[in-house]
């Protein structure tokens, strides 16, 4: 059981979403996968500050805790670190904050390096961010946690918190999948023909 019962004053809510595709196109996936996103709703620590504000201090105070809480729930929801094959991250920034505030929480080593470490990954973590009103959904991109160019693992998972972010909040998200898309069949870099604009000459434009 995931736990962190200690009180964290800047944390309002955590929402874990998981889906499992049983049938896609009417057929069961050859390799069934579960996809999950975990969202933390937090107070924006930089509310009322301007672009001159240094973001470092709050990042070091908050981001490592977020990385631990979010990945703990991902691992719990998806059946362990070894089961996780793809990952991604996201931030939804309430309207009173800057996009940069979300970036500060997900793009620095205090979150990204720890998330990669806790999920046993090596790849850069792909991401999405947006400034949003409460209840706005966001599609989070995922790719393979050790071989980012693995085409079968290019996929997305939805995240949405019904009442967040409020104007003064940020929703920070970690997401992962235990496998590929339901029926991956579009080849890979190793099987692609060499396509350039010259090889396609004569194609209608």
């Amino acid at each position: 059981m995931v736990c962190c019962m200690q009180e964290i004053p800047w944390l309002r809510k955590l929402v874990t979403y998981r889906d499992e595709v049983v049938l896609e196109g009417g057929h069961a996936p050859a390799v069934p996968a579960r996809r999950a996103s975990v969202a933390a709703v937090i107070s924006n620590p930089w509310l009322g500050t301007g672009p001159e504000q240094d973001l470092g201090e709050a990042v070091t105070a908050i981001a490592p805790t977020l990385a631990r809480m979010l990945t703990d729930r991902l691992v719990d929801s998806l059946g362990g670190v070894d089961a996780i094959e793809a990952f991604g991250k996201a931030a939804l920034i309430g309207s009173a904050g800057e996009i940069e505030h979300g970036g500060a929480l997900i793009h620095t080593p205090y979150f990204g390096n720890l998330m990669r470490e806790f999920l046993g990954g090596e790849s850069i973590i792909c991401f999405a961010d947006t400034r949003a009103d409460a209840g706005q959904p966001l599609v989070v991109p995922l790719w393979h946690k050790t071989h980012a160019a693995t085409r079968s693992h290019y996929q997305t998972v939805d995240v949405r918190v019904s009442d967040a972010p409020r104007a003064d909040e940020i929703v920070v998200v970690a997401a992962a999948s235990t496998g590929p898309r339901p029926h991956p069949r579009i080849g890979d870099r190793s099987t692609d023909p060499a396509i350039t604009s010259l090889t396609l000459e004569g194609a209608p434009s």
Partner: protein, 183 residues
């Protein structure tokens, strides 16, 4: 019964009204996206055979999953049927408004009351609110609550989303006088 997808959502509320909620308030929802058993058949007068074929299996599938997702004893619960645009709301009601469906959850949760429900028709991604009430006494005011759900790509026009929700407690910061104080 053709299940396309199973969705699990767990909410943990850590603070409300600016005050901590300890232990965190937890609500879990599990939804199964299934083919509408009556899709493409025009107006079906007798829904009984479709109910017999599907309702109990659906309850048996979802009830243990929602209790597992909550990781706690349910104190409040509710249910939902969201019908894709080509179906009748009656199709969703048929699947969830039968003891064959609800008894799986009632037994698993040691519950006795009727499950409050939402039934509606909508496109994929439609928002729906699941009402929850106390599992043994539907007049316990502290446990009247609602949880909002959205599944990005369901229900398709020929599908139904059937969901169960469970809460481990009443509302966070609940502080209304009991019903008995007004009687």
């Amino acid at each position: 019964m053709n299940v396309r997808k199973i969705v699990t959502v767990v909410e943990e509320i850590r603070s409300e009204g600016g005050r901590p909620v300890s232990p965190p308030a937890k609500v879990a929802i599990v939804a199964a996206v299934i083919d509408n058993p009556w899709a493409g058949q025009g107006f079906v007068e007798d829904l009984g055979p479709g109910i017999d074929e599907n309702a109990s299996d659906l309850g048996a599938l979802i009830a243990p999953l929602v209790i597992e997702a909550l990781q706690d004893e349910p104190e409040a619960y509710g249910k939902a049927a969201i019908v894709g645009l080509d179906g009748e709301i009656e199709h969703g009601s048929a699947l969830i408004h039968t003891l064959k469906f609800g008894d799986h959850f009632r037994k698993a949760a040691n519950a006795t009351t009727l499950l409050p429900a939402v039934e509606k028709r909508g496109p994929a991604g439609v928002l729906f609110d699941i009402p929850l009430k106390h599992i043994t006494d539907a007049t316990i005011r502290s446990h009247h609550q609602t949880v909002e759900v959205r599944i990005a790509d369901a229900p398709h026009p020929g599908e139904i989303v059937v969901a169960l929700a469970a809460a481990a407690q009443g509302r966070p910061q609940q502080r209304l006088a009991a019903l008995s104080t007004e009687q």
